[in-house]
């Protein structure tokens, strides 16, 4: 399998008056055709900025300072805006968190969908309309002809997110970046949306990056997981490995704080402290001040290394869980 997207050494920094915010600071990953990669992390860990960097939508004072983003063999990090604009919505599509906000409230669904097609392809309006209708059918929207005539406020949240997914798949993209697409939905709708997304990636061979803070969501969906903390990937590997046998203390903490049927009546595990101030990151390992396993060795920056079939950035990984 060749990789659709290869990101290596990506650094996106924001040059604010208060100092340089290293929102993304050396991120590597790749996504293959038909593969779903879960990008997991807390708020402010840089996962969304990673997504926007791929699309080239970083606004000043932010900018990609280093690294390469290779999409189907083309370098995007240094590509001109016109080339990126041609890719956006066409070969690389995005799905956002809040479906209430991402559809224009004053335009009908058909207008917005047809526009998404005609922006990239020279097709007649009737053809674009037919394709929009089929796309709505594909994501499980009943009587798509009627929905096309509707305004966004006439649809429920789940419906709108389906429309957003349909728009993302309209131009048969090679890569979809989904930025917390199910966070604003209730659990049953969440499950349906995840199911649809998974089905579509399998059918179309689209690669997908699923950005979320919810490990439970990616556990059932992603093929591989990258866990981000303070702009860096701290653990990366196959979903089963990472979920069942986490190595990094941060991943262990995240997993421990998910309520399960077994933890009923017990206190939930909590990662101590707060996410670090991105302007004043601790020296060495950014997670060390909150880590139970931290030692003096953590004062120096841990390099990313291969361990037990995955990549990890930690001085004291919990190898016991792997060996037992």
């Amino acid at each position: 399998m060749t990789a659709t997207l290869e990101v290596s050494g990506l650094k996106t920094h924001f040059f604010t008056r208060a100092g340089v915010v290293k929102a993304v600071d050396g991120v590597d990953f790749s996504v293959a055709r038909g593969e779903v990669m879960g990008l997991v992390g807390e708020s402010g860990s840089g996962k969304s900025i990673t997504g926007f960097s791929i699309l080239g939508l970083i606004d000043p004072p932010g900018r990609i300072v280093e690294g390469s983003i290779r999409f189907n063999g083309t370098e995007l990090a240094s590509a001109p805006e016109s080339q990126l604009q041609a890719l956006r919505g066409n070969k690389i599509a995005m799905i956002f968190q809040d479906p209430m906000m991402t559809l224009n409230p004053v335009l009908r669904i058909d207008t917005q969908m047809i526009e998404a097609i005609t922006a990239h392809e020279d097709v007649s309006k009737a053809d674009a309309w037919a394709r929009s209708r089929d796309a709505l059918g594909l994501v499980g929207i009943p009587s798509p002809e009627e929905r096309l005539r509707a305004y966004p406020h006439q649809l429920s949240g789940g419906m709108r997110q389906r429309v957003a997914i349909a728009i993302a798949f309209l131009n048969r993209p090679d890569l979809i970046i989904a930025d917390e697409p199910t966070t604003a939905l209730d659990v049953t709708i969440q499950a349906q949306i995840i199911h649809e997304a998974q089905k579509l990636t399998r059918q179309t061979g689209t690669a997908m990056i699923w950005i979320t803070h919810d490990l439970a969501v990616v556990a059932g969906l992603a093929d591989r997981i990258s866990v981000m903390y303070a702009g860096r990937i701290v653990e990366q590997g196959g979903t089963d490995d990472v979920i069942d046998r986490p190595l990094h203390p941060y991943t262990i903490g995240l997993l421990g704080s998910v309520p399960t049927a077994n933890s009923r009546g017990q206190r939930l595990y909590q990662i101590e402290g707060m996410t670090p101030n991105m302007l004043a990151l601790p020296e060495g390992c950014a997670f060390a001040p909150r880590c139970r396993r931290a030692s003096d060795a953590c004062k120096t920056e841990p390099a990313i290394r291969d361990l037990a079939g995955r990549r990890i950035r930690c001085m004291h990984p919990q190898v016991e869980t792997v060996e037992t």
Binding site: L55, L57, Q85, A86, L87, R88, G89, N90, A93, M94, F96, D98, M101, T102, L103, N104, P105, V106, L107, E115, A116, A119, H120, G140, I141, P142, S143, E146, R149, A150, Y151, Q154, L155, S156, G158, M159, A164, I167, T188, Q192, H195
Partner: protein
């Protein structure tokens, strides 16, 4: 899953899909005052449009104006035989005819100036909001500077420099008013461009022009419509002010302001009607536009919804 889907489908029957315009219309007519104002406004506009058909005299045609009819009181008969229900002015013009013809001029000057100012102000405001940075600063400081002078003063100075005539007064009104539109549009556009649908549109690879005009602009229309109606009313009264002061329209094209000014000298001799009737016509026009504008603001502003 298909069960869920059919439930959702049942929620929104196709026949009851209400367009935003239909909802807006039913909310607008909830207020009796606004409905009455709209009816009054439509009546005034219709009368003005039909003036050549329904008036007994063309006040611009000197052949139809008889000096012997000068200063007739309301209800007296003209030399030509018809009744002058609102009297006549110092030159023998039938006031009823003169007011309707004057309304045509006042309304067209106000609406033309309002529309041109709206288009120019909207374009500049959108540009400022979307480009941002130094361009925005320069544009908005010019707007601030202009708005710190009363509109009447700006228009008065311009007309004094340019001279009389419809085109010149329209130009003066546009210059005096574009800044209101620019400020309004920029304010709303700044809010709108931060919204996620703009980001989503960027992610769809749409061009900047398309995002600005197709996505941001329609979302800025509500406040623009409100400012547009209020500013049109103020353009009409501003034109009347300038004409009253003698720097607006010439005597040969009498707008309401000119008519009021003509009758002013007769006020003390008891011939009130020459000024009062054109004045009432102006009052009703401006008040009805403003009442309609108020209701538009209430309907279009989501924060004022119950």
């Amino acid at each position: 899953m298909s069960e869920v889907a059919s439930q959702v489908a049942a929620e929104v029957p196709a026949s009851r899909v209400e367009t935003p315009f239909q909802r807006f219309r039913s909310e607008f007519f909830e207020s009796k005052i606004a409905t009455a104002a709209l009816i009054l406004l439509v009546t005034i506009v219709t009368l003005a449009l039909l003036a050549p058909i329904i008036t007994p005299q063309n006040p611009y045609d000197l052949g139809q104006v008889d000096v012997l009819d000068a200063r007739l009181a309301p209800g007296e008969k003209a030399f030509a035989g018809y009744t002058m229900w609102l009297g006549s002015d110092g030159a023998g013009r039938d006031l009823y005819s003169a007011i309707l013809y004057g309304l045509r001029i006042s309304l067209s000057v106000g609406v033309t100036a309002g529309l041109i100012a709206l288009v120019i102000g909207m374009a500049i405001g959108l540009l400022a909001a979307y480009i941002g940075g130094r361009t925005e600063n320069i544009i908005m400081r010019i707007v601030d500077l202009q708005l710190s002078f009363p509109a009447a003063l700006v228009a008065l100075m311009l007309v004094a420099m340019l001279g009389k005539g419809i085109d010149k007064i329209v130009l003066a009104l546009v210059v005096a008013q574009w800044a209101y539109y620019a400020r309004t549009v920029r304010g709303t556009a700044l809010v709108e461009r931060r919204k996620e649908y703009v980001e989503a549109a960027q992610c769809l690879g749409l061009s900047n022009a398309r995002i600005v005009f197709r996505h941001i602009l329609p979302n800025c229309l509500a406040p623009l419509i409100v400012v547009g109606t209020v500013q049109t009313a103020s353009a009409i009264s501003l034109e009347a002010t300038l004409s009253f002061l003698g720097v607006g329209l010439p005597q040969t094209e009498p707008s309401l302001g000119v008519l009021i000014a003509n009758g002013f000298e007769y006020m003390l001799s008891g011939r009130y009607w020459i000024s009062v009737f054109p004045g009432l016509a102006l009052l009703f026009t401006v008040v009805s536009i403003n009442l309609v504008g108020d209701q538009l603001r209430d309907v279009l502003n989501p924060r004022l919804k119950k």
